[in-house]
């Protein structure tokens, strides 16, 4: 078997089609992940806090460290793959180095902060929950916008 490397994705039509469908699937996956977290933890920081740290008045138990570890481990599996697939395409775009480095730095920071601060919530309390929620939203927001940008560039045959 012989693999042909191409400098411009648009020169290879089948490869371009695969990338377009992959991006559409990843954007859908990120949308579904946001929806799943809204169902699991809620849509505002107070609801996240209640779901993760519990609430004595409402007899809601906090999530145990084992439960948090399991959730973070399962989440990271998908998020790492999404990050690598989108970022590998993002570095090929014609944006300036500053924009590309900014994109990688922000998304990578979000991807590392989300699991670590969620795991630290038994010690950090609401600060940890807020950081985890913000990092989760920032990561998904930037990745969705980045993936959409690459998708449009691919559809216009500029990548």
């Amino acid at each position: 078997m012989k693999f042909n490397a191409t400098k411009k994705l648009s020169d290879n039509r089948p490869l371009r089609t695969v990338m377009i469908w992959m991006l559409l699937t990843l954007i859908t996956a990120m949308g579904l992940n946001l929806t799943a977290k809204a169902i699991d933890y809620g849509t505002d920081p107070a609801q996240w806090e209640k779901s993760i740290l519990g609430n004595e008045a409402e007899f809601a138990d906090p999530l145990s460290l084992n439960e948090l570890l399991l959730r973070v481990h399962t989440d990271l599996f998908a998020l790492i793959l999404i990050f690598i697939l989108v970022a590998a395409l993002a570095v090929r775009t014609s944006h300036s180095l500053r924009v590309k480095m900014g994109f990688l730095t922000i998304t990578l920071t979000g991807l590392i902060l989300y699991p670590l601060s969620l795991l630290m919530t038994p010690w950090l309390g609401s600060g940890g929950v807020f950081t985890a929620a913000a990092a989760f939203l920032v990561f998904h927001g930037f990745m969705i916008v980045g993936a959409l940008d690459i998708l449009i560039t691919l559809l216009r045959g500029k990548l």
């Binding site: 084992n66 570890l69 990271l76 793959l81």
Partner: protein, 143 residues
């Protein structure tokens, strides 16, 4: 500059897989334990369906993570083919041993718990060594 960004991305990927492995290790130690008796009692109680629910995502992720990690190793020109071949065969074999030992434990062969411990520790140590080689080489190229 494009290649430099790809190298940074490669380092980020390796760092993220290390983070994921550490979290997986912590989850294993906290929910299962490292003693052979604890491993037998944890996996012995699980149904076949329950075991598949654990093995399937691991097979999927480890397959992809090892492929990505080892392809970086394959591109290091200063390393011999024999080392690369050894690391690849050994990592995949240890992973298969680690996962299949769980099925053996559930089937009633409790001695397989020792096989799991050896395969798990061997896999982690060997993967750590491969990551070290990749980090060392990538940093050399970046600096």
């Amino acid at each position: 500059m494009h290649h430099r960004l790809l190298r940074i991305l490669a380092l980020a990927f390796v760092a993220l897989v290390i983070l994921q492995s550490l979290l997986g290790g912590a989850l294993f130690f906290r929910s299962v334990g490292i003693g052979a008796d604890q491993i037998v009692s944890h996996y012995g109680d699980k149904s076949f369906h329950g075991l598949i629910e654990v093995i399937l995502p691991h097979a999927l992720f480890i397959g992809i993570a090892l492929m990505a990690t080892l392809h970086f190793l394959a591109f290091i020109p200063t390393l011999g083919v024999a080392i690369k071949q050894f690391a690849t065969h050994a990592l995949f074999l240890l992973f298969f041993l680690d996962q299949s030992s769980v099925l053996l434990i559930a089937a009633g062969w409790s001695t397989a718990a020792y096989l799991k411990i050896i395969a798990f520790i061997g896999f982690e140590l060997l993967l750590g060594w491969v990551w070290y080689l990749i980090f060392r080489h990538t940093l050399k190229e970046l600096v």
